[in-house]
């Protein structure tokens, strides 16, 4: 039953009826007068709120009502109260729904207002790419090794089959550390390759290892040359390791880096610690017919590599008749630059937060 003024009037009449027949008292008279004042209200005025007030009058004055009538008057009053309350609740719900609807139809919304500032930090891109490569290689059972940046001449040159009179030692490319006369000579390592021999001395073949790290060359600095940069050495020693394995591993590496098959080519390259030695070119991943990255050749010179020279295996205490291996030296800084289209290598170690925060 829904609320209507007529229904309220009817209930009010049913409440008043037994009261009029009851013995008079001043309290009863007052109650009757009050009930009549409600009954006299116009339909408009006799809304759910007034009806609730009206129902409260007899319920609040039960003691004034003679006993026999109390049951009937109470029940009828409660009926009126419930009816009014239900109506008020329904009205409130309608108002709430209307408010929700209004909220849904907001007109003061601007989708382009800026977000609240959230602080953010960043890993350095060299670290990010190094991790990616470490994860790729460790997932294939390779070990990650580390070696000192200040290296002995022995590991940096001698053990790598770089002869004492080889130009590389004398040219200004090598940073020589001042050492007391007679002490073993030290250099800032010119490549990550010395860790090859350190690895051979520590690990028993067969093994597969990568060595990411910082290297140093005394070169004049410009947009594409830095005196300090990052490399990642790779080394595999095992039984029957061949150039074919090197090609396979390099293709896997490139698939890992670029996420798709990349054509490669090996061409002769000379490095004293490998024989045969190669330059590995990758088909330019950025173009089909020549771009500025590949200098219009469609090939990118990516990394030097080769079969480990028997003298290097020997220096590492490994018998080259029993074991063979391959090694590669990935230019990590260059790869980072390729990956993110960084046009100036000096940004990498320049320490500008605006650079690092982009990654």
């Amino acid at each position: 039953m829904t609320y209507a003024p007529a229904r309220a009037r009817e209930l009010l009449a049913r409440i008043a009826e037994p009261l009029r027949a009851a013995p008079r008292s001043p309290e009863l008279d007052a109650l009757l007068a009050r009930l009549e004042s409600f009954a006299a209200l116009s339909d408009e005025q006799l809304n759910a709120a007034s009806a609730l007030e009206a129902a409260a009058a007899p319920l609040g004055a039960m003691r004034a009502i003679p006993g026999p009538s109390r049951g009937l008057v109470g029940a009828t009053s409660n009926e009126l109260k419930k009816l009014a309350e239900a109506e008020l609740a329904a009205q409130a719900e309608r108002a709430a729904q209307a408010a929700l609807e209004a909220e849904r139809k907001a007109s003061d919304f601007d989708a382009t207002l800026p977000a609240a500032r959230v602080e953010r930090g960043a890993l350095h891109p060299i670290v990010a790419v190094t991790r990616e490569l470490e994860d790729l290689f460790t997932s294939m059972g390779w070990t990650v090794l580390d070696g000192p940046e200040v290296e002995t001449e022995e590991f940096n040159f001698d053990a790598l089959n770089i002869q004492p009179d080889h130009p590389a030692r004398e040219t200004m490319d090598t940073f020589w550390v001042a050492t007391p006369p007679g002490a073993p000579r030290l250099v800032m390592r010119t490549h990550t390759s010395p860790v090859q021999v350190r690895a051979m001395k520590r690990l028993k073949p067969p093994f597969r290892a990568i060595v990411p790290g910082k290297v140093f060359r005394n070169e004049s600095v410009d947009a594409s040359h830095e005196h300090t940069f990052h490399q990642m050495e790779g080394l595999v020693v095992g039984k029957g390791i061949s150039v074919g394995h090197l090609i396979g591993a390099m293709k896997t590496l490139l698939r890992g880096i670029f996420g798709r098959e990349i054509e490669i080519r090996l061409r002769p390259g000379y490095f004293p610690f490998v024989e045969p030695g190669f330059e590995l070119d990758a088909r330019c991943p950025f173009c089909k017919d020549g771009c500025s990255v590949c200098k219009r050749s469609t090939w990118i010179e990516l990394l030097p590599c080769g079969m480990v020279h028997p003298n290097v295996l020997r220096a590492g205490g490994i018998d080259p008749e029993q074991w063979t291996g391959f090694a590669f030296g990935l230019g990590l800084s260059r790869l980072v630059m390729l990956r993110y289209s960084i046009d100036d290598i000096r940004h990498l170690l320049g320490g500008d937060v605006r650079f690092v925060s982009q990654f």
Binding site: T152, R208, H230, Y270, G351
Partner: protein, 809 residues
């Protein structure tokens, strides 16, 4: 190195093989080609013309008005200023529209009122040399209307080879060597060198006496020539030299260069009249000696330099450059030709020391084959006599030195070659490749043989079986080798110290960059003296390089912190707040040993100064401390304890430096930036900052105790929250008070948070007030008011013991 395509065709038939093909073949089998470009493409546009008539210019004495037939339409009227222009000449004509070197565009013009429809060119104007005394007089047999390039056979391509890819191949430093490679790759035959068949009889004693007084010269050939004239070189010679970037001078100089660029063997011509009758001596320089080289420079010599002497007087810096005193002058007809083999290292050291890198030194450095010397001598004589048949060799050539043949015998196993390459090659296939490269095969039996390495490959390049693997592989082509998967037992990498460190570093980086929102730096290992000076570390021993990249950049960091400090100001200038960290290595020198390597994290937090009334923990130091504690927690370590640091690092404000120890292990320090250093770094005035720094030792963190990670049952009974405020003497540490409150709880204190630190009149001079939110909780019951009352009574007694008091509201 520049290689001329047409020069190569003197040694190998390249029909059907373009210059670009040559470049590709060489790249894939031999050496890195950096580029291929057409030689003097302008010559392709310039036309052979015939000067039909020449009249004087009506208005200028030195100009001629020529009528030139260029084979098309009406003859052209061209104004020419050259003195040698005359009717009947064949000339090179650049017609209007043609562009000459230097982007010089030829247009119709009027010269002193006379129309000119092109230009008659000199050699220099065409990029063909320095000759500019007049126009270029072409051979009269050329056909009018032809393009000059085609008519002269001057069409050529220049192939640039990366010198670095030839360091191990002395045999490739001349056109014949490159041609030999191409012949092997393309299965074509190398044309015989005419000079090789010429008769040659030399002796230890010949026309020119030669004494070798040093082991650094293994062979020296001296040959006397009579009747040679330093006339202009023929066009073919000039053209080839120009193509490879050599400036033609005269026939003698040009042929000497030609032979070097042809065979890779440097040689030298002396003016015999200027040599002593005592003959030639090869010796090392004496201390204090000096000489003037051909370039006019006076060179101070050292005992490591090798000299060619006339009698005792230096006349050439062996293998590097000739001397001024024995220079061939234009009028000589008496020459001595030197063709020698010098020690590669001696030549390289001298040329490096003097900064005198010549075509000659570049070749000697590579270890030349001593057997190349007599061939080069004969080649030069042959070419000279072809141009000037009247030239004679005087007496017997001298050929001395205790050189040994560099031909070698290297044993090789066929199976090893196949296994190393991973290529399916037959024995015959391997032999075929080696023979194409002029290697011989001997004693081929039981899957093995002996390979005879020719002398020109045996100076240092091919000494081992492994070297032969390369020879076979590169000619077979690496691209023909099938790729293979690595096989073997799969095991996780060993969980050794290196692995543990790497994992720990990753967690630290992640926590700092991704949780604490710090920016990671990767910096130089070198640290500038100026910064070390500001840090007061100028006198501290550092690993130091002898040849730094720049003044003051010779020292290698002992710790990572200076690298972070180096960029603090520049970043702060760009941003109100800066949060940086670097994980890296430092090197501490250790006398006579390899330096000690330390692994560290350096952190910096730098912001505008904190507000005066800011909460006690609203500052960089407190924030950074929170970051460090978070890292320690993320690493699963025990929380450790902070205490005032007595030995503050040089970057730290010594009065406000705290150190963190986990158990007994010192893991790092934290402090506001040393105030004087802050000023020195420029963090003052407008850039006044609240900067805090921290250092954590990766090595120490690796050794620190792990926190227990056992599950604790969740609370069953409700928490009771109590605020406790204590007034304490200034010197009493917060940690002491915190520990006291915990003790007072008798096991009920489940949490403590300091939320206020107050100093001021309410607590009195020399005292501070600390206030905590304390969480009390029992594991077996709900706490009552009585429990709280007893707790606070105990706290009041403890506070008195600490010299303070419980503050009541």
């Amino acid at each position: 190195m520049k290689i001329s395509y047409s020069w190569l065709t003197r040694h190998v038939d390249l029909s059907g093989v373009s210059a670009h093909d040559v470049a590709r073949e060489l790249t894939l089998s031999t050496a890195e080609v950096e580029g291929v470009h057409a030689f003097l493409p302008h010559l392709g546009d310039v036309t052979v013309g015939h000067v039909v008539e020449r009249d004087k210019h009506p208005d200028a004495d030195k100009l001629s008005v020529c009528t030139v037939d260029v084979g098309q339409g009406e003859p052209l009227q061209i104004v020419c200023g050259a003195p040698n222009v005359r009717a009947g000449l064949k000339v090179a004509v650049a017609t209007s529209g043609v562009t000459l070197p230097g982007d010089f565009k030829i247009k119709k013009s009027k010269i002193r009122g006379v129309e000119s429809n092109g230009m008659i060119c000199s050699e220099r104007e065409l990029g063909l040399g320095e000759e500019h005394n007049g126009i270029w007089e072409l051979p009269l047999e050329l056909r009018v209307g032809d393009k000059v390039a085609a008519a002269l056979g001057a069409q050529d391509w220049v192939i640039e080879i990366d010198n670095k890819s030839l360091t191990h191949r002395p045999d490739l430093w001349g056109h014949r060597g490159i041609a030999r490679e191409l012949a092997a790759i393309l299965r074509r035959s190398l044309k015989p060198l005419e000079a090789a068949s010429a008769s040659w009889s030399a002796g230890k004693t010949g026309e020119i006496a030669v004494r070798i007084e040093t082991p650094n010269c293994s062979r020296y050939i001296a040959l006397a020539l009579h009747g040679a004239r330093a006339e202009k070189s023929p066009l073919w010679l000039k053209r080839l030299l120009l193509a490879v970037g050599q400036r033609p001078i005269d026939l003698l100089v040009d042929l000497s260069n030609f032979v070097m660029l042809d065979l890779g063997q440097p040689n030298h011509l002396f003016d015999r009249r200027r040599l002593s009758a005592d003959g030639i001596a090869v010796r090392m320089a004496r201390a204090g000696e000096s000489m003037k080289t051909l370039d006019g420079a006076e060179r101070k010599l050292e005992p490591s330099d090798m000299l060619i002497c006339s009698g005792d007087a230096p006349v050439a810096l062996a293998g590097v450059m000739g001397g001024e005193s024995s220079k061939v002058e234009g009028d000589t007809s008496q020459l001595v030709l030197e063709v020698a083999t010098f020690h590669p290292t001696v030549v390289r050291r001298t040329s490096t020391r003097l900064g005198l890198r010549t075509d000659s030194s570049a070749r000697f450095e590579k270890s030349l084959d001593p057997e190349l010397a007599p061939l080069a001598a004969r080649h030069l004589v042959h070419l000279l006599r072809t141009e000037q048949p009247e030239v004679r060799v005087v007496g017997t050539p001298t050929d001395v030195g205790d050189w040994k043949s560099t031909a070698r015998r290297v044993p090789m196993r066929f199976e090893r070659v196949r296994a190393m390459l991973g290529a399916d090659l037959s024995d015959e296939g391997i032999i075929d490749i080696l023979q194409r490269l002029e290697f011989g095969i001997e004693a081929n039996a039981n899957g093995a043989c002996v390979v005879l390495v020719p002398s020109f490959r045996g100076t240092k390049d091919i000494t081992l079986e492994q070297d032969l693997v390369e020879e076979v592989g590169r000619i077979h082509r690496y691209g023909n080798i099938p790729e293979r998967e690595l096989e073997g037992a799969l095991a996780p990498p060993p969980r050794d110290d290196g692995w543990k460190r790497r994992m720990l570093v990753r967690r630290v980086e992640d926590r700092l960059a991704l949780a604490a929102h710090f920016h990671q730096l990767v910096s130089y290992s070198f640290v500038h003296d100026g910064l070390l000076d500001k840090l007061g570390l100028a006198a501290t021993p550092h690993v130091t390089v002898q040849n730094s990249i720049a003044e003051g950049f010779s020292r290698v960091r002992r710790s990572v912190m200076p690298s972070v400090l180096a960029v603090l100001e520049s970043n702060r200038r760009r941003s109100a707040s800066v949060a940086l960290f670097e994980v890296g290595k430092g090197y501490v020198p250790s006398e006579g040993h390899e330096p000690l390597e330390v692994h560290e994290v350096a952190l910096a937090l730098c912001a505008a100064p904190a507000k005066k009334d800011a909460r006690f923990d609203h500052n960089s130091l407190a924030r950074l401390k929170g970051v460090v504690e978070d890292v320690v927690r993320a690493l699963g370590l025990e929380a450790g304890a902070w205490r005032k640091c007595d030995a503050a690092p040089s970057w730290a404000n010594p009065g406000r430096c705290a150190e963190l120890r986990i158990g007994e292990v010192l893991v790092g320090e934290i402090a506001p930036l040393e105030p004087g250093l802050a000023r020195a770094l420029g963090l003052s005035g407008e850039l006044e900052s609240d900067a805090a720094l921290a250092r954590l030792s990766i090595d120490a963190l690796l050794g620190a105790a792990q926190r227990s990670k056992l599950y604790q049952p969740l609370p069953q009974f409700p928490d009771t929250l109590v605020d406790v405020a204590l007034a304490l003497p200034e010197e009493r540490a917060a940690a002491d008070a915190t520990a006291a409150i915990e003790r007072c709880g008798k096991g009920l204190v489940a949490g403590l948070e300091l939320f206020d630190l107050y100093r001021g009149p309410n607590v009195g001079e020399g005292r501070k007030s600390l206030a905590w939110h304390v969480v009390l909780r029992a594991s077996d019951r709900t706490l009552t008011d009585q429990d709280v009352k007893k707790f606070l009574e105990r706290v009041e007694r403890e506070a008195a013991n600490l010299g303070g008091a419980l503050r009541r509201e």
